[in-house]
Symmetry: C2
Subunit: 211 residues, 2 copies
């Protein structure tokens, strides 16, 4: 695969299970590269540098932004999150499809800079199902769950600018549906102008030879 890869931006209601879908996608298909964000927030228990995030001080983060080393960054609940440019561009050039999991705010900035990026929004089949999943975890009290649900609703501003909606009802089906959407993106006419121009040139040559 020598063609430039596709930049895939994945967002979704918090609790929609997008992290699990992304990890499974990367595990199943080695054409995908998962971009890791830089953040100023502290690591949570169980998180590791370079696996979950690249942890930066505010000063380091500002220096990255100032030197254009981030393709987008946004502030979210008092911490900064950004997408390091080098990894994304290296992987795209190598023909890998690069997956970013980011908030809508950042996603729409990506769309401006990379008009060919594919924007996917992952949603549970219903609000009730999202509530059931959060309650089912048993790790959060009712008040926290209520806050997360309320925030999930607010997160959907701008979603009509996404390309596709992916319903996460059952993990396996959701992973495969996401994979197919990315695969089909390679059939975009704008991604295949080289082939088209080759055919047009050859048609001209052949028709001249035929006369």
């Amino acid at each position: 695969m020598n063609k430039q890869g596709i930049l895939v931006v994945v967002s979704g209601f918090s609790g929609a299970g997008k992290g699990t879908v992304m990890k499974e996608l990367v595990r199943r298909y080695d054409r995908y590269a998962l971009s890791i964000s830089a953040t100023t927030r502290s690591p949570r228990p169980g998180e590791a540098e370079g696996v979950d995030y690249f942890y930066k001080t505010m000063e380091e983060f500002r220096a990255m932004a100032a030197s254009d080393a981030l393709i987008e960054y946004a502030c979210y609940v008092n911490n900064y999150y950004g997408t390091p440019r080098a990894y994304v561009e290296e992987q795209l050039a190598a023909g890998k499809d690069v997956i970013l999991e980011i908030e809508i705010q950042g996603a729409l900035k990506i769309r401006e800079k990379y008009p060919d990026a594919l924007l996917l929004f992952i949603t549970p089949p219903s609000a009730e199902e999202l509530r059931r999943r959060l309650v089912g975890r048993g790790t959060e009290d009712n008040d926290t769950i209520a806050r997360r649900l309320a925030r999930a609703g607010e997160e959907a501003e701008g979603i009509e600018q996404y390309d596709y909606l992916v319903i996460n009802d059952e993990l396996d089906a959701c992973v495969e549906a996401t994979h197919r959407l990315i695969e089909l993106q390679h059939q975009k006419a704008s991604k295949n102008m080289e082939l088209i121009n080759q055919i047009r040139e050859d048609l001209k040559k052949i028709s001249e030879g035929e006369r």
Copy 2:
């Protein structure tokens, strides 16, 4: 299926086999409705009114255009071709995906009026393969084949505005690839705002109940 159907515009190099692909698609899946064009050209041997085209006099065609009964029309090799509006809109409203097989010129007019239309361009895998198919038919002399090949090359102006390229290497694979592209179009975020808004509303209600 109560949702509005999708308008699918199919174009392609002449000799790419798009007619066969479309007929097979409609035969396999009854969710598709094939739009039949109106034309001022005379029926060719074997063609039938209402099957291949609706044959109109120049006067009748002009009256249709004047009364806005055509969603697009174009002149092609001295004859007019147009898409009757009533059938397309009835079928879309009934939830059918409507397939139009038209030239690039008409396709780009459809895109302006129906921004959600899906534009597909069908191409043989190479120019050489297109030549082989035309020669293989044995019905045309070299000069006619040369003219068709030359015209095919000229037909590709504007193709970068199409959504997807579909390579017709083998009929069955091409039919299924086209079907999948249309199916996925139903997952467009802009086609699912009702579901999204429902989830957002429910999230608000549930989170208020939870507190």
